[in-house]
Symmetry: C2
Subunit: 219 residues, 2 copies
Amino acid sequence: MIASEEGDFPPSCKTHGDFGIGTFDRLDGEMLALDGNYYQIKTDGIAYPVSGNMTTPFATVTHFEADENFRVEKPMNLTELEQYLDRNLPSENLFYAIKVDGNFTYLKARSAPKQGKPYRKLAYAVSNQTVFEFENISGTLAGFRTPDYVNGINVPGYHLHFITANRSAGGHVLELELENGTAALDTTSAFFMELPTSGNFSKVELGQDLKAEMETVEK
Amino acid sequence: MIASEEGDFPPSCKTHGDFGIGTFDRLDGEMLALDGNYYQIKTDGIAYPVSGNMTTPFATVTHFEADENFRVEKPMNLTELEQYLDRNLPSENLFYAIKVDGNFTYLKARSAPKQGKPYRKLAYAVSNQTVFEFENISGTLAGFRTPDYVNGINVPGYHLHFITANRSAGGHVLELELENGTAALDTTSAFFMELPTSGNFSKVELGQDLKAEMETVEK
């Protein structure tokens, strides 16, 4: 779901899902929703509860219901985890919400800093990100795998955020070493996109290749 | 909306809209829906009412409610009509359902022939299309303008089908000379995509650039 910059975030987003990821107005941190609780992970790495008047320019959420659960018994890094999940997908052409509860020997996450006008391209904005490293931490990965053909409307492939087991810290996942855990997949065959009808969205140039830009910034 | 190859077409499609375009199983003709009536325009150029047990692999429909109406007073061809509509769009980043009731001095349309296994790529399938030419005909254009960024999930730009005023014939529009008429735009800020959960969809390779292929076949 993509909500309006001026949209009322909690009712709209929470209506659409209890689980998901995104960002906040002016790219102010990483959004993570889990079990109906929405968190804002700012550049200090701390997960703040989302207040009632916050809004989002971009978020993807769902009502999470696990269709399949997998036990991860052996250590794997982010690439290996993605390959492991890929092997267990019913189809590469559907959407998946992914939740991994696990113990991580290492995890690197980032948060993006709040932007001001004039707004720059995402690649520039994220170049000023703050990076955090965790060691021997328990927590949850939350995110989505979207098919290649949604290139222009979402992030193709895996997009995962992390929050610690005590829900105090986290960020957008850059690297990880998962020791063991449980992966849950929610296979999703419908996609609903809600676009802003106010603000600057109507005038912004969106024709460029989002995938290419994402490949720059989502690593 | 993209419905399942095995989905039940009329309830599902008709639930989602009273207006739209698409095709039928095995690419068997052009679909056009207007005022809640669904038509199948086969390669004989004739518009047949859609029966209750037909299904569609791809259709885009909406509940049409005109937000803006324009009077077309001077003659224009398809390119000029698209440019005229472009100048009247609130934003290039939203979706538009478009209905044009008009008098056409000329209109060229096509219909695609029913395919058999093994299924070929769309460009090949449409290379065997049948083309019809109309002169001095009244009728309705129905279709959509979708933003560039939906490249992978729909046809970017304008995609229009035609049906005659007496609802007897039509097709996918290739060229036209509009003498005069009325254009209605339904500005649409939400997009719902429903993917097949059965049939061959789960295995087919969809990673290629749909826009490039569409540029080949939608001209």
